[in-house]
Symmetry: C2
Subunit: 430 residues, 2 copies
């Protein structure tokens, strides 16, 4: 066995510490699998005094120096965020280092530029850990399904919102109470914006869509709605029609007359409780893939946590290390398809709408007419009378989101409609 491969670690929080520990614990196995031992060359952190467990001679605050050092072969980045990481990774590529990253925000924003820089340097850029923690997902999309045509990727990729929505369903509480509970238990961060407003899921959706459709998709192309507007009424209404509310990341290839386009969106939706994604609870993640030839596939596992994320990082590390030993770079990400992004307004979706109306003859007809006027076809309608009022629960067929949205606006203005009590998109109904 020859000289060790030397790894620079950027960041040493929960994931970074787990990477360091596993690198040590599994050193003999990793060496056997790679063909050369792996050694930590240095760990870049902001505050060296906060890392008493790391041998002091490895710690440095100069990340740029570390990633360009000639004795470093591979860079593992678990800092997160855009800058300074973007510059550091570009510097690493410039110095001929392969990179393993867990950085969803950066990959979603600057994936194209980073891939180009890696390709130009003839090195690898892998980032399995950036989406759905330990679940092998990006490699299956990049490689296992490379001979197939993907139609849809639908996933629960954010554990915090999944926990909150699960608790709302279990307790009947509203969003605010469920968020407070999640914060108390450490499932939500002090500033939960990135999770509850769907930014985290949108970044992951962009990465998934880019790989699935061989098309550059950035976070800005993703339609995004968080869960803070989901009410206990929405959750109760979902249960009434045999559904549960989940925050979904949905990546679709939509056929059109002028050619296919790619629609990527993150929003809460009702899905049938019989759908495989419905039973994904708490901090687990799951991603459902539909491909032309392969049919339906599902991937399930832990979406977060230091060890789970570190497992994905180390899997990538073995891959780039093997490539380094063989003196090659792995296959890059192809973006040849360059499909246009489809705006949400033109994306076909289905709505569940719950209305309080006056209970008199003709109201249903008037309401139904409003749907027809916008070209929206109704799949099911249920009318429950109580006193002089009635509740109409309507599930539509698929229609462009703009038409559904316009229908809702028109319904709100109708004299017979006393209130629109719940609106949510519906997915996975046949």
């Amino acid at each position: 066995m020859t000289a060790p491969l030397r790894v620079a670690l950027l960041g040493c929080g929960t994931v970074g510490s787990a990477v360091l520990r596993l690198l040590e614990e599994q050193a003999p196995d990793l060496a056997a699998r790679i063909g050369r031992p792996v050694e930590v060359a240095g760990v870049a952190v902001r505050r060296p005094d906060r890392h008493p467990d790391v041998p002091p001679h490895l710690l440095t605050t100069d990340a740029h120096w570390l990633v360009t050092r000639p004795d470093v072969d591979l860079v593992v980045e678990v800092i997160g965020g855009i800058e300074p990481v973007r510059s550091l990774l570009l510097a690493a590529f410039g110095a001929g280092k392969s990179v393993v990253s867990a950085n969803k925000a950066l990959l979603a924003d600057d994936g194209v530029e980073l891939h180009a820089a890696a390709a130009e340097a003839g090195v690898d850029l892998y980032y399995e850990a950036s989406v759905a923690g330990a679940i092998p997902l990006l490699r299956p999309l990049r490689e296992s399904l490379a001979g197939d045509q993907l139609r849809r990727v639908v996933g629960i990729v954010n554990g915090t919102t999944n926990y909150i929505l699960s608790r709302m369903a279990e307790t009947g509480h509203g969003f605010t109470e469920a968020l407070a509970e999640a914060t108390d238990l450490g499932y939500a961060e002090a500033d939960p914006t990135a999770d509850v407003d769907g930014f985290d899921a949108a970044a992951k959706a962009a990465i998934l869509a880019s790989l699935a459709f061989h098309t550059p998709v950035s976070a800005a192309d993703v339609y995004r709605e968080g869960i803070s507007a989901v009410t206990s009424t929405d959750v109760a209404r979902a249960a009434e029609i045999g559904c549960t509310v989940k925050l979904l990341a949905i990546c679709e290839r939509v056929p059109g007359e002028g050619g296919d386009s790619v629609a990527v969106r993150v929003h809460p939706a009702m899905i049938p409780t019989t759908h495989p994604l419905a039973s994904v609870g708490g901090a687990f993640n799951a991603v459902f893939v539909e491909a032309e030839a392969a049919g339906q596939l599902m991937f399930y596992g832990q979406g977060a946590g230091g060890d789970a994320t570190a497992s994905a990082v180390l899997g990538d590390l073995v891959a780039v290390a093997r490539n380094r030993v063989a003196g090659v770079a792995g296959p890059g990400v192809t973006a040849y398809a360059g499909l246009p992004a489809r705006p949400i307004a033109e994306t076909p979706t289905r709505y569940h709408i719950s209305l309080d109306v006056a209970d008199k003859p003709g109201v249903l007809a008037t309401v139904a007419q409003e749907f027809a006027r916008h070209g929206v076809s109704i799949a099911t309608v249920r009318q429950d009378g109580h006193g002089d009022a009635a509740t109409l629960v309507i599930v539509t067929h698929s229609a462009p989101d703009a038409a559904l949205s316009a229908t809702v606006t028109a319904l709100r203005g109708m004299p017979a409609v006393r209130g629109v009590t719940s609106i949510l998109r519906v997915e996975g109904l046949s």
Copy 2:
């Protein structure tokens, strides 16, 4: 774009035809993903007259000539069985061709020899399609989880037996009737031995265990019990304790005083209906993976069918083609661990045992004593009296299989025991 990569196809049944069709339909995408177009150089079949859809100039009966032709770059094998395929693949490696195979029996029997031949020739051997059809499973095990330690791989990997067991649960029918129904519907072959006796699942288990534990495991190392002895009583008893009966392929790394060993077995077992594998119905396959750092993962999808299997074949084809374009071979399969196979007798399992006993004082004590005498600890026992007889339903804790088996033999010989009405292993209970 340069000259096409030329593919030799061996076999043209359901999967082969699907591969040919998809190669044509997806030619532009495959070319873009690989960097060079792919072209079919020839199709080896036994009876050319039976393949009117294949251009006649491509058909040949001389498979050996085809795989060694200088104008062939890659070989796709979907014939199945051991010989002549083994010789053909060795000839292909000898001639410097990379191979994609869907052949579980061959890989389970001769995986070590074939991998060695591929490595010596500096070419690739991929076989994602050999286990669980379209579900990306071997690549995740080989690569995504290469930085982790696997503990267990538990799967439903045979659709025929899964269909039969599902129907037994739904209808209350016995094995014979359910098999007849499966045969009528085309879910079971005229000679169902390979499926119902567990040979198919055992081959897949050997492949999974080899990759999961970096250890050569062949089909002969796999303990195997089929489902023909599963009775409607077994299925009913399972339901009574909140379980369902599945044919499981179980690959475990078992810690021991003298070091770890690998236990690989295929047998019917009761699993709780809440277990993710319990709801895998009909022809679907699912594999559950437990890893040290990644935790629990599940992979789910279509386990068979021409298109689904062809998707896995084409994914591998893209991978070996990319390697060919780059002038490299992908990472081989490592078998450095060389863990010993643990015989079933020494493998820890749990049993569910249902007994008809005389309903008199002291019987339970006598029975319990027999378990204790064999060192088997009882987890739960339920006694239902009816007239002068009673039913004892016992679920044990984990014990070496030999001890459980000896306990059952002893119980059969006890005067107080009128009959042992159901014995099945239990998995997935906490």
